[in-house]
Amino acid sequence: MSIWEYANPKKFMQTSSWALPFVTVGAVGCLAVGLFWGFFLTPEATNFGSTVKVIYVHVPSAMMAINIWVMMLVTSLIWLIRRHHVSALAAKAAAPIGMVMTLIALITGAIWGQPMWGTWWEWDPRLTSFLILFLFYLGYMALWEAIDNPDTAADLTGVLCLVGSVFALLSRYAVNFWNQGLHQGATLSLDKQENISDVYWFPLLLCIAGFVLLFVTLLLLRTRTEIRARRLKALEQRERMA
């Protein structure tokens, strides 16, 4: 039983339809509990006031924005190397989710920045990098939309994703160099968990789990749709040829 079996569209459809109810329930549950906990039951922080509650949407969405791009990079590579259609279609399905996550991170960041820094938008390295990431998502999706032949589109977007990843990283470095910013360091992220007290940590963890599960749910749904659309296209083409 190899993992590549799931790259077969039919197998993927079966497995995903089995798994969907579980991840959906998980996503809804984690998100509901996590957001409720974060919004209603956490105390104010001394330096942030009640705005600390924004981290429950800001941090998970920002994490997902980056992780989804990484996932797209991996699936693009799998497509380019092993030519599994599901892999390419999963990358296509993930892009809009990643774009929305980036948008959420940007918007909540701007709303949060207003009282904290006194401005809606600051050309801070992190914010700027996310804006650039947003542009990469837009370009990637636009390229998918523009090309008729699905395999050509998968190949070209895969190559774009590879090149884009390198340049997204490079931009991150360049932007850092260009302007040292106002943004909190990684104090609120996973690797520095000792910096954040348990009161905030557990609901944050729940929210992160919720966002991940929500992503998986949407990804499965969207990939199923893409597989069906791809099959529809193949059938129509066959009909035209017959």
């Binding site: 650039i132 370009g139 190559v159 884009g164 931009s171 360049a174 160099f177």
Partner: protein, 218 residues
Amino acid sequence: MIALLTRDLRLAVRAGGGFGLGLAFFLIVVTLVPFGVGPEGGVLARIAPGILWLGALLACLLSLDRIFALDFEDGSLDLLATAPIPLEGVVSVKAAAHWLTTGLPLVLAAPVFGVLLHLPQPAYFWLVVSLMLGTPALSVLGTFGAALTVGLKRGGLLLSLLVLPLYVPTLIFGAELVRRGANGMDTQVPLLMLAGITAACVAVVPFASAAAIRVNLR
């Protein structure tokens, strides 16, 4: 390969668009900026490095969609792909021809436009150096974008959307180099980064461009 380069240059000269249009566009951008921000020399001098870099970048962008489109339409691209030169070589030559017809004239003309924007004295040297080092990367990356969109009917706008994010690092380091040069600050880091990015792009991106062309011709 040399034959391809001379052919492309000759085509650019005959078509007339190559050298002239990019420069004229650059001039217009530089002319319009003072109308937008006001004529005070101090303000202009401060933003001149950025404006000059941005102008060069946009002028470069303008001619990108023609890199492969004409060869695709008349079938030359099919024939070049079956010819005994590697496609990686073809796209490199295309990028070189684009640079010679748009990048190089911009580099040479930039100091003149710098005068119009009150660019500070010490910055001229760095302006030319940064454009000289940076514009090849713009051409190579633009060739990649053009290769991705070669078969598309409405590729122009998409091309800009794909290519502009890739220009971010080059723009940042290029403009930063000029700004630091103008203020007499240390220029080593942006200089090395700019040169490094260009060198890496020239070495690696043609492979991606050639792959994209192969997919598009399939």
